[in-house]
Structure formats: C-alpha cells, structure tokens
Amino acid sequence: MDFFTTKNLTMKFGGLVAVNDFNITLEKGEIVGLIGPNGAGKTTVFNMIAGYYPPTEGAIVFQENIIGGKKANEITKLGIARTFQNIRLFTELSVVENVMIAYHCRIHSTFIGAVLRLPLYRREEKMMYEGAMEYLREVGLDDLALEPSGSLPYGKQRRLEIARALATGPQLLLLDEPAAGMNPNETQELLQLILRLRDNHNLTIFLIEHDMKFVMQICERMKVLDYGTTIAEGTPEEIQNNERVIKAYLGEA
C-alpha cells in the first residue's frame, strides 16, 4: 500500500476546471515539489488534500484512509499538516501559545478535567508546553517564546508556522511556498531546516514553491502543473530540460 496517493483528483469551480486529473504517489520520507506558473492550481491541490475543498472527482488515500471529503481538522488529526501561502498565525497570541494550540488535537482530557485541573490535564498541559518549547528550539525560536507572534519578522513567522504544523504530529507535511519573500541567506537556512526536520520526525514533505533554485536543491522529484493539468514530472534535471515546462514558464517563442 502506498503512503499517499491521489487518483484522478479534479476540482471544478462552476465551469472552470482548476485542477484536472491530478495523480501523485508519495513514498515515505520523500520531498516532492509542485511547481507551475501563477494560477496553475497548485494551492487548489493543497486545499483538496488538506480538506478545505471537497474534490469534485477523484480520490485521496492516505495510509489506507480515504480522506477525500473529510473535514480539515479530521485530516490534520490523521497526520497531514499544512502551512499557508499567506502566513496565518494567531498573531495576537504568543509564539509558544501558537504551537500549544496545535497540540490541542492530541490531548485526551475533557473540558471538565481541564477546568478542575485534574492530574491527567496537568500532565497534558505540561506535555503541551514542553513539547511546544521543543519544537520552537528545533526551528530556533525558543528564546522568543513569550513574544506576540505578530511581532516576529517575516522569516521567523514562516518558521513558527512550520513549528505549529509539526506540533499536530504529522507524517505528511504540506508546505505552501515556504521560501516566499525570503532573501538567499534565509532560503538556505530554511532548506537546512526542512531537511533536518524531515530526518528528525520521519516526515514526508510535499511543497509548492516558486523559488526555482530552492526547489531544485531540495526536491528529489517534482511535478509541474499548468492550467490545472500535469504537464511534466521527474527529477529536477529532467524538469529543467523539459520543453513543455520551459514553454509554460516563458511562453512560445
């Protein structure tokens, strides 16, 4: 059984076909990229996998669970976490609270237990706090734990969002343009971070990115979308030399 598969995934908005017959299979531990020009339907693919859009047609299977049509929070609990293209932190809350919120789906206490501070809840609260700090240490934000997350600079907000996604305990991580808006230095740091996280947490990573240098360096395999259709797939070298990909990006000569 494959780790993660989509079969003929299709999304139509009225008459517009945003994504057409998208097929992908991910093996455990891979880093796979999804690229394509603006409006190609990349984020729509993510939104379907993460449960924000019910696919019009097709199936998504994750570790023998059919997840097409499930709600976003249920899918997160099954082990698929995501970050957003436009960072979506709880900006009014502190950095550590942002990560602790992501831990909430993993606790077993009831709200009565939480109000009465029963032993189980106390243990879990401690676990949430320590776990959150551990994730922050991994992404290098532990010294900013009590700052309001909205006050962090852009690059750190991105890393916080990744830490928050990790705190849900995922096996598959969907990163939507993690390197957007970063300078070359930050991009290199992010690259190291992603590789390190993959090894530490046995993650499989599926990412959308426009920064070609970054994608070519980090991905083992990639897929190219244009107008909702898959136009190419293969290793970075194959993609770089693919006629159709060059055409899609640069237009016809």
Binding site: R82, F90, I101, Y103, A114, E125
Partner: protein
Amino acid sequence: MEEHHRRNQILTVIAVGIGLLFLYGAQEYATSYQIRILNNCALFVILAASYNLINGVTGQFSLEPNAFVAIGAYTSALLTLTPAEKQLSFIIEPIMWPLGVLHAPFFISLLAAGVVTAFVGFLMGFPVFRVRGDYLAIVTLGFGEVVRVVANNTQTITNGPLGLKGIAPHTNLWWSWGIAIITVFFIARLVRSSFGRAMKAVKYDETAAEAVGINAFWHKMLAFTTSAFFEGVGGGILAHLITTISPTLFTFFLTFNLLIMIVVGGLGSTTGACIAAIIVTFGGEYLRFVEEPINFWFIHIPAIPGMRMVIFSIILILMMIFARNGIMGTKEFSWNWVLNKIKPVKIFLRKKP
C-alpha cells in the same frame, strides 16, 4: 510556566476572603437598597462573564442571552413555587401536568435551570453555527425574540403575559455572589486551559484553527453551551431576586445591557467583563438623578425617563471612538501586573530619608 503561580493563588484566595467578609458586613448592616444593588452586581457578573465566553473569547457575535436567562428564570421559578401557589397563579388556564406538581429546593432549581438552558443552547447550536458573523448575530437575535414570544403564548407553562408571581426571595448576597464566584472561577479556568486557547484560535483565524486540528464547530458549541448553562443559572438567581417574572422582562434590552458590559470590559477578557458589570450596575444607579427633574439655578429640566440609556449610549459611542479595546482589552487581571505597579511605589517610599 507562569511566574509566582502559588503566590498568586494565595492572593486570590485572600481577595475572595476579604470579599466574603465584606459581604457578611453588607448582609448585616447595609440597607435593603444597597443589598439589592450588590445582588444586581453579582447577577450581572454571572451573565456578563458567561456571555463574554461566546462573544469575546470565541469571537462568535451572538445576541441570545435574554432567551437563555428567560429559560433559566422560568425553569427555576416553576420548580420552587409550591403546587398550591402555582394553582393559584394560573387563573386563565391550569398549569400543564408535570410542572404543576414538581417542587424542588432552591439549589436544585438553579441546577435544573442551568441544565435545561444548556440543553436548549446545545440543540440551538446545531442550526446556529452553520452561519458566521452578521448572520449569526441575526439568527441568535431571532432566537431571543422567539423565546420571548413563546413564553408569552404558552399559557399552560409560563402563565403567559401574567407571568409568575410570589416566587420565594431565596436570592441573598451569599447565593448571588457565591454563584458569581463559581461562574467566574469556572470560566476563567476554562479560558486559560487548552480548550480556551482553542476557542481563541477559532476567534482569530478559523481556517488556521482547522488546519491545526481544532474542530471549530465543537469548540463553538462548548463555549455556547457553557455560556447557556451559567446564563440559565443567572436566570434562576434573577427570578428569586425580583420574585416576579413575566415575558416583558426578557426583551432584547437585557442582551443590550450585557453587550455594553462586555464591550466596556474588553471583548475577550473575563475579568474585564466582571469589572464592567460592576461599574455599569453601579453607574446605572448613580445616574438615576438624570431621570429626575433637575432644578439648576434658573434652568429647569423636567424628568426624562430613559435618560440613563442615552448617557450609556453616548459613553459607548465615545468608547468605540477613543478606547475601542475597553477597560482590559483581551488581557486578564493579573497579580503580577498589580504587584509590578506597586513595586515602584515601594522603592520610592524606601528611598525617602
């Protein structure tokens, strides 16, 4: 995780102790008018703190508390009235069967008021939380009106417009403030727990909350049902405080008052809601003079009933312009903050020769 946790707990216990001593003094020596105001304060602390849970903390702008208070008030009143009293009251049509014979002590009636109201809130949550934002406000506003109209027309249950009279005046300062303390304790702890954090996440960004595995619907339901429970209990306190209830008591005006409180206190701050409930209740009493005829030198102003509401509305408008976050914003009262404020004073005093 929090600094000086133990010390702060002790300070809270001491503060509550001083409050209880004050209540003891008030119960013994205060005039009945003063006791009435203190009871009102407690009542509004209960209602505002629980209303704030759904409106402020979870960010679901809803307008139904008058309905929940009404359900709680009727439930507990029908339970504490003796069967004989009920038979006397229901003169147009006799009371429905099980309600006529049921009778329970005050505490049980309060509990029943909470449970019944929470159950209604729970059922209501299913349709209501299919919508968000403005639509949610309108749907819940409608629900508030429906309950009032139903209360007006179900002669065999609520005695219709005649209302219920002669309810035993069980509510004293111990009951009202006791329940208020329990309510605030429960809600403050809920808000500070993992569940409270999840509710805040739903408020700030529902999409992101779902992405980190929070079931937004069930957390809204939790906030809504908890809020309904305590508003129902508050309704029971209210019924046994004023001893006569009728549908006219539970108009949107009550919700509006609570809304003022939670906005003045700072949406999302439980302690802010409590402080505001006390300020608004006292303020309302203090401002009574504006509704009486005023003779100021040669200017004669006749009595204007409702003038207090005009002043409250003006205050609310000014707050929305100049201090949108209310007294506390989304922050909570904390001993650390108070002691940090006191510290410079101490150092200043010590420096004096």
